[in-house]
């Protein structure tokens, strides 16, 4: 087998990785393996070979010839085609700009999961308005407990607040 990187020497280093349940294999010759850092014993997590990442975006590579190449992220100007070719986003706003197109691949990599870990102080979202949603669900919980404890005065007040927010959001 020939090296996937240079295509000229015999591949002697075979690397198999499983990333979020997806097995990927790469075959490199000694020189390329060393050059790309695989000969190092404490190699990090960075696994940044663009053609490998294309494996994560099979639906895009097939769709490429017909993809609308003029579509670009308004913040950094990266086109969707660039994202697919490099496997890298240009900036944080690319996630919002290309969210719908990314969704199939994101669920291939990560399943249907949404974030449940730490968030620090910055809960600003680019795909929806979290603060409003947070406030709403909090108010609804309070409303439920107010009803449960038969505190109807508070419940009425909370209901009005919820209506105001929901009405404003429509």
């Amino acid at each position: 087998m020939l090296c996937q990187n240079c295509g000229s020497s015999e591949a002697t280093t075979h690397i198999k990785r499983i990333v979020n349940g997806e097995a990927t294999e790469i075959h490199l010759c000694y020189n390329c393996a060393e050059h790309l850092g695989y000969a190092n014993m404490f190699s990090g997590f960075g696994f940044n070979i663009s053609n490998m990442l294309l494996n994560f975006f099979p639906e895009f590579t097939r769709a490429l010839p017909t993809a609308d190449n003029s579509e670009r992220c308004p913040t950094c100007g990266t086109s969707f085609e660039e994202v697919v070719r490099s496997g890298m986003m240009g900036c944080a706003d690319c996630y919002a700009a290309f969210y719908d197109k990314l969704r199939p691949s994101l669920s291939r990599i990560h399943g249907r999961a949404t974030h449940v870990g730490k968030s620090g102080k910055n809960q600003i979202t680019s795909t929806e308005s979290p603060r409003l949603e947070d406030t709403l669900s909090k108010l609804k919980e309070e409303l439920k407990s107010a009803v449960d404890t038969q505190n109807f005065e508070l419940a009425a007040k909370l209901r009005d607040e919820i209506n105001a927010i929901e009405g404003g959001a429509e």
Partner: protein
């Protein structure tokens, strides 16, 4: 000052080290791939300023293009930077504490990779170190974050917690018994990956493996850490059982004492030969037949690597001289 890997860690007969890394990107900047070198240094300056203000004197900031090649490679040998990070130094900065247990790689794949290291199996403590530094920086920096997708990273495979925790395990007995492929298969079903730290995935030099979490979205940091810890402990137990069994085997005993003889007596030794013999000797140490502390052996994994030896001696040694210096240092531990 001692480096983190010169200290004693828990379960260090099998567990060499624990690492927790978190990727973060600063809001208002494009991702690293779209940044100029000046913008990259601007980000490093911001971090430097915050750390200076809040944790004055704890961290040293080093632009990678101001560091000699041997030191660059030595940092990679010891897992502090990725090989990719030193392949191109311009725009890249390393910020780390003197004992190197806590560091930030600036503008590798993401703007920040916050990293914590401790010897042995110390997942909670290592996580706490990285988490604390992340919180300190979070007070003054705004990180790119999305409620559904979590921390946003340059590569979509890392979004969510953007955290990778890993434990380096030395598994000579499981390797000799051909158990690694079975283990790899099992852990991958549990959201983890077991991979050779160096060389072939199933048969790495010195039987050194890295077990790390792969899932970053839909699992909290604590759950990922807990999961990794319980599976690490289970692998450690399996390794210990097999080590005991091997000690009853005459053929293995022969390999063990020959390996011991090599380390005790060699005058010239390569890093690879050292690692192979040392992995075997660990089994004799576990059985109490060889009396050398595990932490001393583990430390050698870091200090005996080629560029790290060069840095230690202050110059690039030619191969033979380096192999003899290595043999000398090992003989001291085995004396």
């Amino acid at each position: 000052m001692s480096k983190w890997y010169q200290l004693q860690g828990a379960e260090n007969d099998v567990a060499i080290s624990t690492k927790v890394a978190m990727a973060r990107n600063v809001k208002g900047y494009n991702f690293t791939v779209k940044l100029t070198a000046d913008e990259k240094y601007e980000i490093a300056d911001k971090i430097d300023e915050i750390l200076d203000k809040k944790l004055n004197g704890k961290f040293a900031t080093t632009p990678m293009n101001e560091v000699g090649r041997d030191l660059q490679i030595s940092l990679a040998e010891r897992g502090l930077v990725s090989p990719e990070f030193i392949s191109y130094a311009e725009g890249r900065t390393m910020i780390m504490t003197e004992d190197e247990s806590l560091s930030i790689m600036v503008c590798e794949e993401d703007h920040l990779k916050i990293q914590a290291f401790l010897p042995g199996l110390e997942l909670e403590k290592t996580f706490e170190l990285a988490d604390t530094l992340d919180n300190v920086l979070d007070e003054d920096l705004e990180f790119s974050f999305d409620k559904k997708l979590g921390y946003l990273t340059q590569c979509p495979t890392n979004i969510g917690t953007a955290m990778r925790a890993s434990v380096t395990l030395q598994l000579p007995a499981l390797s000799m018994r051909g158990q690694i492929p079975r283990l790899s298969g099992t852990v991958s079903k549990l959201g983890l990956v077991l991979t050779g730290a160096y060389g072939e995935a199933d048969n790495p030099v010195g039987s050194l493996f890295q077990l790390s979490n792969q899932v970053t979205l839909g699992i909290s940091e604590q759950a990922a850490i807990e999961n990794l810890k319980s599976i690490s402990l289970s692998i450690i137990e399996q390794e210990r059982e097999l080590r005991k069994e091997l000690m009853n085997n005459l053929k293995f005993q022969d390999i063990l004492w020959r390996s011991y003889g090599t380390l005790k007596n060699a005058r010239v030794i390569s890093f690879g030969e050292f690692m192979e013999a040392m992995a075997v000797v660990k089994i004799g140490v576990a059985a109490g037949e060889i009396n050398i502390p595990n932490d001393k052996l583990n430390e050698l994994i870091f200090t005996m690597q080629p560029a790290t030896l060069n840095v230690e001696h202050g110059k690039s040694l030619d191969r033979q001289l380096r192999d003899s210096k290595r043999a000398e240092a090992i003989r001291e531990v085995f004396a």
